[in-house]
Amino acid sequence: MTSKTIEVNMAGSAVVPKIGEAGRSAPDVRSDLYVRFEPRSTGGIEIHLQSRVALYYGDAIRAQAHRVLTDLGVQHCALHIDDYGALPFVIAARIETAVRRAGSAGERRSLPPALPTPEPSAKDRLRRSRLYLPGAEPKYFINAALHAPDAIILDLEDSVHHAEKDAARILVRNALRAVDFGACERMVRINQLPLGLADLDEIVPENPDLILIPKVETAAQVAEVDQRIRAIQQRTKATRPIWIMPILESALGIENAYAIATAADSICALTIGLEDYTADLGVAKTPTGAESLFARTRLINAAKAVGVQAIDSVYGDVTDLDGLRAWGVNSRALGFEGMGCIHPGQIRVIHEAFAPSQGELEKAVRIVAAFDEAQSRGLGVVSLGAKMIDPPVVNRAVKLVERAKQMGIPLPEPPSGQPTTRKASPEGE
């Protein structure tokens, strides 16, 4: 479809009005549609609809097509739709894409009705798993949240063919308005700059929780994105936080990790892209990840130095859940707080890998109990048995217990009878 569009467009630049196409028409298409928009100078709007669900939604699709065309300022056209059971937010996006490709929309948009905006996300929220959703494949959007990742990523970058960037941007914008992603943090991975700036113009007004910037090598790149987000939010009078997660995917990016982490206050995490990083090094990506150990620990150190999260890359083999588990356990041990997923089946394994062990939790619970008791007794020093506990250890235990609660892990009971604090017992003194 795409190449055809270009041909027609090139021919159309002479005399014929430009025809715009979007989507794909083939027997294997599901929950999507193909649209061919043919502008005309007279005759009103003519809609030709073929739909797998015509008996049930034919009238609704025609009515929606009229609304979208009206929103886009189209008065005369022939619109052909081959629908394969697409949901309304997809239909709107494909029609808008076709009209825009024909150059007929000007600055107009057709925004589907918006669901209530979810609560803004916290800078240090749980980010164990983030599920990548290819931005041009709307059929994966609707049920993504049911698999309960901590976040979903609507991806405009590597999973989207360069000829479909415009289409994906509109689809993702509509999805942010119309799809219920439940408790998931709603992330968008924009394209590399400068294309990514145009993505922001479309996406930021729809209140994503977080923007992932790919292939970041310098602090200036992050600052540019941050400024663009602020500018858009000033225009729309939005105050909702939009967090930034730079993805470091090259040797240079890793060298600049600390500078990048300090480039904006809205940075909540650093993450790494190992496919590109290993390619940049000219080495193979191995199951143990020895070749990227330096880069990963370097990134973790930079993130922690600035007080933001460090998040690992993805594990590419979706069938190897044992390998994924081993990777995740190691990743957590290094200091990462989460990783990416490219299949819903990876989510649970990752959550298990990033969960504290029962032993760790028991110890943390004892420390917290000791701290609480010390607090209640007005003691300045916390100790467990004969050992004095340093404040950083207490802090870490408090955080761990807090995280475990967020992860829904049942907390072990602090063992009773065991001396948890230095008891200022009358007998002893």
């Binding site: 609704a60 949901l87 309304p88 609707i142 819903p344």
Partner: protein, 525 residues
């Protein structure tokens, strides 16, 4: 019976509020009266008295070909010819028998398969030519469309596996000639499905035909010396044996391996159901379950087997449709027995042929309404699919939402008698919601459907307070069915338009007791 006779039809409203014809294919019909309300009296049908002195003393009943066998059976106009569907879409015998009848020159046959498959689409030509008058049995694909468009001269009659046995036993359907494809048989007519190059496992669907038909022909491509054991079909019921080079295409008779769904959403449904079975306490030592061969139900079996292992729980029996997944459970000691109605893959075929705890059953033992009890109601939990389910838990498996014939009933209706019936359904397919206000074609009454499991949550029938109580406090997403429906309607952009069904009946759906529960109407598309 002419087309005109078919259209001049008296319609009544049955106990489910569905409009149904009172007269079908020349027979008076009882409209559905409600669950367990119909109790026919009288005596069972019986084939004519035969005497062994009329059969070869040496036991050799072989004749040269199917056409000769049909002639010897005295085939004539208007007869009922039956066949079974254990060879599924690989079957070559049923079509050959009907085409042989065409060569003989008979007309107006009623074909009475236990189910039809797309490979039998050429029967359409036989219907156009007048050889076959109509079909009573499941129809889908091209045959379903032919019937849905009103092209068949008689009504389609859709029966469950148990309902087919009931109709034969109470004389509603009399089989003149049964043609039984047999993967292995001897000259006497003893036959089984578990051996031979065309092995299909059980032959249970053909059992009633062999007992009640006037004449019985066994067709095999694996003739073994007498005796053929085990004899799922007893030669003492068989008139003629025909040896042919091939009874069908083995690659389409059983699949190599049955496939678990790979869709994350469907896997989620399967896992939710397995957890429900576990957390509700149904999964306990000695319990039993049945699951079909669909992608979701196979995945359910896989999840449940893992949970059973974790909890060291063992089933007393499981009911097939058997697949590798059930066979693995049997071999790992997770179940004592497989009671098998039909055998879906190569692992299961091998198992039924070699493991005495993998037992072939028939609709008589499993489902028959006129039996003195049946297995289906002993089963603790059964997981089934559906095209549509409504807010009153009524289910549709026979038609698309537009009213076109889609599936046969299979054992679906019979299985609803399990202690807990669970429908595993995606909440919408493409844009079409599965949960509706009212099912297009009522196939199973909501009184018997206990749980509807979707990827967006599990709805428990309010009639089953015991199940609601059993999972109280669990972390399962238990939700009212109306709430799931409202959520899905919103995702799909509102309720679908109501499809206008035709006003001319083309087929009827029987309930397990032989009454008519709903009508399939002629479609314009």
């Amino acid at each position: 019976m002419s087309n005109a006779a078919k259209t001049q039809v008296e319609l009544v409203r049955n106990a489910a509020g569905r409009v149904v014809p009172t007269y079908v294919n020349g027979r008076q019909q009882a409209p559905y009266k409600g669950v367990d309300q119909h109790r026919p009296a009288g005596h069972k049908a019986a084939p004519p008295v035969r005497s062994n002195i009329d059969y070869p003393k040496n036991g050799d009943k072989r004749v040269s070909d199917i056409e000769t066998a049909l002639r010897k059976c005295g085939i004539s106009d208007g007869m009922t010819i039956s066949s079974h569907h254990h060879l599924r879409n690989g079957d070559a015998v049923a079509l050959e028998a009907l085409q042989a009848a065409a060569r003989i020159g008979v007309k107006d046959l009623m074909w009475f398969p236990s189910a039809s498959f797309p490979c039998q689409a050429p029967v359409i030509d036989l219907m156009k030519a007048g050889v076959v008058h109509h079909i009573e049995g499941s129809m889908n694909g091209p045959l379903g469309d032919y019937c849905s468009r009103g092209n068949m001269r008689g009504y389609g009659v859709l029966r469950s596996h148990g309902g087919r046995w009931q109709a034969i036993q109470d004389g509603e359907v009399h089989i003149d000639i049964a043609v039984i494809a047999a993967p292995t048989a001897d000259m006497f007519g003893n036959a089984n499905g578990s051996h031979g190059k065309s092995a299909c496992g059980s032959l249970g669907f053909a059992l009633a035909d062999s007992i009640y038909a006037d004449k019985v022909i066994v067709v095999t491509d694996n003739l073994v010396p007498f005796p053929c054991v085990p004899w799922q079909i007893q030669g003492n019921n068989v008139d003629y044996v025909v040896e042919v080079p091939s009874i069908g295409d083995p690659s389409k008779i059983v699949s190599g391996t049955t496939q678990i769904t790979r869709s994350p959403d469907r896997l989620r449904i399967a896992e939710l159901i397995a957890k429900f079975v576990r957390d509700s306490g149904i999964m306990r030592d000695g319990f039993s379950f049945q699951a079909g061969s669909g992608g979701i139900t196979l995945a359910f079996v896989d999840y449940l087997a893992r949970m059973m292992k974790e909890a060291s729980v063992k089933a007393s029996f499981v009911r097939g449709g058997s697949t590798k997944y059930l066979v693995d459970m049997l071999n790992e000691g997770l179940t004592e027995y497989i009671l098998d109605g039909q055998t879906f893959d190569l692992d299961a075929v091998r198992s039924i042929a070699s493991n005495p705890r993998h037992v072939a059953t028939s609709p008589f033992t499993s489902y028959n309404f006129h039996g003195k009890g049946n297995f289906a109601s002993i089963v603790d939990v059964c997981v089934l699919g559906a095209t549509e389910v409504d807010v009153n838990f009524n289910g549709n498996v026979v038609t698309h939402s537009d009213g076109r014939l889609l599936h046969g009933i299979g054992g679906w209706q019979n299985c609803l008698y399990a202690g807990c019936t669970i429908l595993a359904v995606p909440s919408f397919r493409d844009r079409i919601p599965t949960i509706v206000d009212e099912v297009t074609t009522l196939t199973g009454p909501g009184e018997l459907i206990d749980v509807v499991a979707t990827e967006r949550g599990i709805a428990i029938n309010p009639r089953r307070q015991d199940l609601l109580d059993a999972v109280k406090g669990s972390d399962l997403p238990i939700r009212p069915i109306e709430e799931i429906k409202a959520e899905v309607d919103a995702i799909c952009g509102g309720k679908p338009q109501k499809v206008k069904l035709g006003d001319e009946p083309v087929a009827v759906v029987k309930w397990v007791d032989g009454t008519i529960i709903d009508t399939v109407w002629k479609t314009a598309f």
